[in-house]
């Protein structure tokens, strides 16, 4: 090898190294510059400034804890205990949790030595390490008396309103109303509401009841009574929620498989080896592009105008969009079929339809079905989103619960259910795909490089 060629090779190598090095710096630099542009154009600093820490706290606290309100109407002395202050969580007259003792003087034990008592005229709050606060709410205002010294910052007192926030709970005293909040961890009344005979029973007790012959609700077996109590829980509306989940899956199922059924014949029309007419192929492909390009959002809006909100609209929107995607993928798969098998079937005198049925369909079924199943999982997610727009399924419940801005425990319940639903569909579609592709054979060797297909992938 002469020195000259070596020199050429060296410069070549140097050039390549230079190029690599330039890329190595340029690419991260471009990314950083772009992200900086995004930071400015999305006004990230402003967003962080405006972010409501209060909202975030409410959201997080509410999603894993709840509060019980004990309130006294100072005009007539009536004491009411309500979970989350909601009517459907209100204890019936005379019934109370064990930390509240109702009577002439109602005593509310907030735990950790914090005790509030509602007397006829006087409200008192024993705070360990601070002292006792008393108040005589009435016409002249809250009339609170505090232990000597400056008021700590967790007491907010004015003439007509006193708010005391401690780690055990919160006491608010106004002229007409005295209210104590006690916080608990967990989701309140998740299984049974207060009016259910099963409320407040432990797990072991419930299992025992389920198998015992004594009917708690006369004329109904305990298991079915429990099921009724759970499904018709007024606070959590489990029945409605599970129905909504089902509706979402239904939308995804109908949309995906409906699209597959529609796209199959259209795919034949767009495949080179089945449709000799170039104009038909061209037209079909543009139809697919159009269906895909318009996108589920616009289809949803258009269809909702004709059919009104509901699961059918969502299913049809998915169907239309995916007809475009499937048509494109199916026609590509059809162009790759082996013509020998078709010729073989033809040689037995099969008519065109029989040729398709026995020569083509068996070849493409595993490929097509695995693509369709892949879409089924992603369409479950799309159906959640479309449901939020068109008003069907769990997406609707989620947005409704969000809008109230206080039922965050319900929001987190829905989120958990949605994630479980999507993961279950993912598992199901993965299992079916493996079954289809491998059949009963030994586990097939993993594909070498999963080169990304040019075709569209699901949302």
């Amino acid at each position: 090898m002469s020195v000259a060629t070596l020199g050429i090779m060296k410069t070549e190598a140097d050039r390549r190294f230079q190029k690599k090095r330039r890329w190595g710096f340029a690419l991260p630099a471009v990314i950083v510059v772009y992200l900086a542009y995004i930071f400015v154009s999305f006004d990230m600093a402003g967003v962080l400034g405006r972010a409501s820490a209060e909202n975030a706290r409410t959201l997080v606290a509410d999603s894993y804890s709840y509060k019980t309100h004990v309130s006294r109407d100072n005009r007539n002395g009536a004491v009411e205990i309500a979970i989350e202050g909601e009517r459907k969580g209100t204890y019936p007259e005379g019934m109370s949790p064990e930390w509240v003792t109702l009577g002439e003087t109602s005593v509310i034990d907030l735990g950790a030595g914090h005790v509030v008592s509602f007397g006829q005229e006087i409200v008192s709050y024993d705070i360990p390490g601070y002292g006792t606060i008393t108040a005589r709410p009435g016409r002249q205002g809250a009339q609170a008396e505090f232990p000597p010294g400056d008021l700590p910052e967790w007491i907010n007192a004015s003439k007509n309103r006193v708010t005391i926030t401690t780690e055990a709970g919160r006491l608010t005293i106004t002229r007409n109303r005295t209210e104590v909040l006690r916080y608990f961890t967990g989701w309140e009344l998740f299984f049974f509401t207060l009016d259910s005979p099963f409320h407040g029973k432990g797990f072991a007790e419930l299992v025992g009841l389920a198998f015992s012959g004594d009917q708690v609700v006369p004329g109904q077996s305990n298991i079915s009574a429990m099921w009724d109590g759970f499904i018709n829980n007024a606070m959590w509306r489990h029945g409605e929620v599970y129905w909504a989940i089902f509706e979402t899956i239904l939308m995804a199922f109908l949309g995906t498989f409906g699209a597959a059924i529609v796209a199959l014949p259209l795919g034949f029309m767009a495949a080179r080896n089945f449709t000799p007419l170039k104009s038909v192929r061209f037209a079909m492909r543009r139809v697919f592009d159009f269906l895909r390009g318009v996108d589920a959002l616009i289809w949803t809006i258009v269809l909702a105008r004709a059919f009104g909100p509901g699961p059918l609209t969502g299913a049809l929107a998915i169907l239309l969009t995916d007809t475009g995607s499937f048509g494109k993928m199916f026609s590509e798969a059809l162009e790759n079929v082996d013509s020998k098998q078709i010729e073989g079937v033809q040689s037995t005198g099969a008519k065109p339809l029989q040729r398709y049925r026995f020569g083509v369909i068996p070849q493409i079924t595993p490929v097509l079905l695995s693509q369709v199943l892949y879409y089924l999982e992603s369409n479950t997610r799309s159906a959640t989103i479309i449901g939020a727009i068109t008003g069907g399924g769990i997406g609707l419940l989620l947005t409704q619960a969000m809008i109230t801005q206080k039922d965050w425990e319900e929001v987190s319940y829905y989120i958990v259910l949605i994630i479980m639903m999507v993961m279950a569909m993912d598992w199901l579609s993965g299992m079916l795909r493996r079954r289809l592709i491998k059949g009963d054979d030994a586990p097939a060797k993993k594909a070498k490089t999963p080169a990304p297909k040019a075709g569209p992938l699901p949302v």
């Binding site: 995004i38 199922f253 258009v302 004709a306 490089t449 990304p452």
Partner: protein, 290 residues
């Protein structure tokens, strides 16, 4: 005596009837499956129809009413259309920026997660299952869930949408990337390890150059998807062209020319990005094979 001597060659008639029996069974199973599937589809559509506010058959003739109205109004005010297109261009750019920034940040997280979740490459091999589960969960969360929660905390605008899409993207791309990583050649990594390279150096110099064409290809595919997602999230209050579309629609008649302009912008950008990314992806995958 045949039983003692063992079976001779079975008569052809036996084999034939066995074969026909097997075929019949297969056909019956196939038929049952097909009937079940058809019943599910029909029953499902019937149920969905009954739960819908308006029925399918009563609404079918109205299906072109709304597009007709929109197109009619757009045609009437065709002179305004170019102006509308210009008006809504910034919103479109915002939507595309949401998608691009989310794809970019999501992909960066996905690279990290996928490297940590690939056998042979992971920094902490014991934590591989943990990272896999994390990616599964991130992938399972629909964007709208995070977007709505973040809108409550951060207020409306592009940032909640961006974070929501990036979160989902990190999970979805992470899974695909880790499949790519599994096929990467381990030799350069071993070589780098033998000269004392740290984990990040081994990944950056040994793995990333091998897998980056596939990464880019998948990320482009995700970008297409994310543009659609970002338009939808705009509709629920996260800014961009979806938000403008919602406003134009909720004004009712009289604003449909604006809605038409938005439809056109959205359609064109989706098609354009689809085509562009498909060309680039073809180049990437074919360029590697050559």
């Amino acid at each position: 005596m045949q039983t003692l001597l063992g079976d001779g060659p079975r008569p052809v008639a036996d084999i034939r009837s066995d074969y026909l029996g097997a075929m019949r069974r297969k056909r019956i199973y196939g038929g049952i499956l097909l009937a079940l599937f058809v019943a599910l589809m029909v029953g499902g559509f019937d149920l969905a129809d009954s739960r819908n506010a308006g029925g399918f058959w009563s609404g079918l003739h109205r299906i072109f009413d709304f597009p007709g109205e929109v197109l009619g109004e757009a045609a009437e005010k065709i002179a305004l259309l170019p102006a509308h297109l210009v008006t809504y261009l910034p919103a479109l750019i915002e939507t595309i920026n949401i998608a691009a920034a989310a794809t970019l940040t999501g992909a960066l997280f996905a690279i990290l997660l996928s490297l940590l979740a690939t056998r042979g490459l992971a920094k902490w091999p014991r934590l591989i299952p943990v990272f896999r589960r994390v990616m599964d969960i991130m992938r399972a969360v629909p964007e709208i869930v995070i977007a709505l929660v973040l809108i409550f905390v951060l207020g409306g605008g592009p940032v909640p949408a961006m974070i929501a899409i990036a979160f989902h993207t990190a999970g979805a791309l992470g899974k695909l990337f880790s499949e790519v990583n599994e096929n990467a050649d381990i030799k350069p990594v071993d070589g780098l390890a033998s000269v004392g390279a740290t984990w990040s150096q081994r990944m950056w110099l040994g793995v990333i150059p091998q897998v980056s064409p596939n990464y880019v290809s998948y990320a482009l595919l995700r970008f297409e998807i994310n543009i659609r997602a970002s338009a939808i999230l705009g509709f629920v209050g996260a800014g961009g062209i979806g938000y403008e579309l919602k406003n134009a629609m909720s004004w009712g008649q009289g604003k449909y020319d604006e809605a038409a302009a938005i439809f056109i912008l959205l359609f064109l950008s989706i098609v354009l990005v689809d085509q562009l990314s498909s060309v680039v992806r073809h180049k990437l995958t074919e360029g590697r094979a050559a």
